[in-house]
Each structure stands twice: as C-alpha cells, then as structure tokens.
Amino acid sequence: MTEPENKSVDALLDEAASQMPEVPAHLMAAVMLDAARLQPTKAIVAPRPNLWDSFLDLIGGWPAMGGLAAAGLAGVWIGFAPPATLEAATAQILGSSQTIDLFGGDALSSFDVGEVAQ
C-alpha cells in the first residue's frame, strides 16, 4: 500500500466517520409503532373451571353449599332419632298405622303343600 493510497483511504474513512445523521421523525414513529406492536404482554389466561367449581356455581356458591350440608345432616339425624313430637305429628297427619290380615292369620303356615297338589 503506497503512501498516497493510504492517505486517501484514511481521508475517506475520516470523512465517512464524520456523518452524524439526524433521526427523521418518520423513522422514530415507525420504531415506536414496532415497540408497541412487539411489546411482550403477559397473557391473561382464564383458568379452566373444574367440575367442583362448576357445581358450586350451579348451586349458588359456598353459602348454598353450607345450607345443603346442614339440611342433609338434619335429615340423617331425624331418620335415626325422630323426636316424639314428630311421630305424633306424623300420626296426626297420616293417621295411625293399621295391619290388615288378608289370609286369616296363620292359616297359610299350616297349609300343606301336598294338599294343594291334590
């Protein structure tokens, strides 16, 4: 590389290096549009409701669930140990229980199968 060649390359590089372009408004606008378009967003994914949550929603949530449980327990309790007033009230409404003997008491028990065959 000769001295003049070297000098001209240095001069050319120096001249090119001195370029300091202003950022045009349209370029800044385009860059900011890109920034808005490409901005990472934390996707808000609604959790998929499971069967239990769907059931709770159906009956009206936890308060309704509490009422349902209390009613169930009360039913079980009344079934096992009905209060005397309840039995009286039931008898009052439905009447007392009656036993009807359609076949004359123990008649069938002494009935011989052999007699029937004849």
Partner: protein, 195 residues
C-alpha cells in the same frame, strides 16, 4: 418506570421495564439508541433509505429479545453494534450481488453549481467506500467499519465481534489494505488525484 435513585436508568433496566409493559421505557430507549444505530448504518451503507431500514430492523430485534434479555450478560449497545454490523454486511453483500455500480456510472447534472457538485462528490465518495467495503470479507468489513467509522477501540471491537484483540488487529490491517487496493483505481474519481 420509576427511578427514585436520581441516576439515569441503564439500557438494560429500561429494556426490562419495556418487557414488563412500560411503553415509556421504549421511548427513552429509542431516543438513546436509535441515533447511534442509524449513524452506524449510514456510515457503513452510504444510503439513507437502506440505513433507515437497517436501523428499524435492528430496533425490532431489540424489542423482540426484550423478554429474554439477561441483565449483566452483555451491554445492549455492544449487542446493537453487532446486530447493526451484521445487517449492514448483509445489505452490502446483496447490493454487490445485484449490481456492481462503477463510480463513473453515477449520474451528474449537466452544469452543477459548485456547492451541489461538492455534495455530489462527497456522496459519490461515501458510495465508493460502501461498495469497497462490500467487496471485503464480512468480518474484515465489520472490523474496519467498527474501528475506522465508529471509532471503537480494539478491545471493544473484540467484544462486539466475539473474537480476540489480536484477531481484530489482523482483520482491520488486512481490511484496510484491501480497501486501499480496491479504491486505488478510483483516486481521481474520488477527488484525491492531487494528494
């Protein structure tokens, strides 16, 4: 974007804020980085429209990497130098493949006024330099551009290009010699005939 310390937030902090949804951080980052990116592309390509395209593309890559950027791994400015240099050498390569345009082919007005003539010659010189850079191997072109157009120090160029300082010295020396050889035949057209 809240900074109670009073010190200007770092590029990495701004990028993290942008990734977290702060649009204003992107504006600060663009104001800070875009002039440098556009300048680097303009100096290397000597073409305003192409330089703007490269600058926009480099910033797009920054926005895209925002969510994955690991603070402390690298300087954003260093990363941007590398991205812009790569985009520019891609453009130079395409330009060289599509058509080589001799300096003499640049159209001139019939009777240019002195000011216009000087401006045209400056533009033609920069175009000749870009065309000469296009003829260098990519790494040489990048090293020469970073050293002589961007004024970066060799250790910084080594970081940008991810090579050793010794390799930088070798690439810039060989690149500059090759540039001189390519441009030797155009000294008169470049306006250096009286040197």
């Amino acid at each position: 974007m809240t900074d109670t310390s009073g010190a200007a937030p770092t590029d990495a902090a701004l990028l993290a804020a942008y990734a977290a949804g702060d649009g204003a951080a992107a504006q600060v980052l663009a104001n800070r980085l875009l002039p440098g990116v556009l300048g680097q592309a303009t100096r290397m390509l000597a073409d305003q429209a192409e330089a703007e395209d490269v600058a926009q593309e480099a910033m797009i890559r920054l926005w895209k990497i925002a969510a994955d950027w690991r603070e402390g791994e690298a300087q954003i400015s260093t990363w941007l130098y590398r991205v812009t240099a790569n985009l520019c050498t891609d453009r130079l390569r395409k330009r060289q493949r599509s058509a080589s345009r001799p300096l003499e082919d640049v159209a001139e007005p019939p009777d240019p006024t002195p000011g216009v003539e000087a401006q045209m010659q400056t533009t033609a010189r920069h175009a000749a330099l870009a065309d000469a850079l296009a003829q260098l191997p990519d790494r040489q072109a990048q090293a020469v551009a970073l050293r002589h157009l961007e004024g970066r120090a060799n250790p910084e160029i080594a970081q940008i290009m991810d090579i050793s300082v010794r390799s930088v010295e070798s690439l810039t020396a060989r690149g500059k010699r090759a540039l001189a050889t390519i441009l030797a035949g155009q000294r008169a057209a470049l306006g250096y005939e009286n040197d």
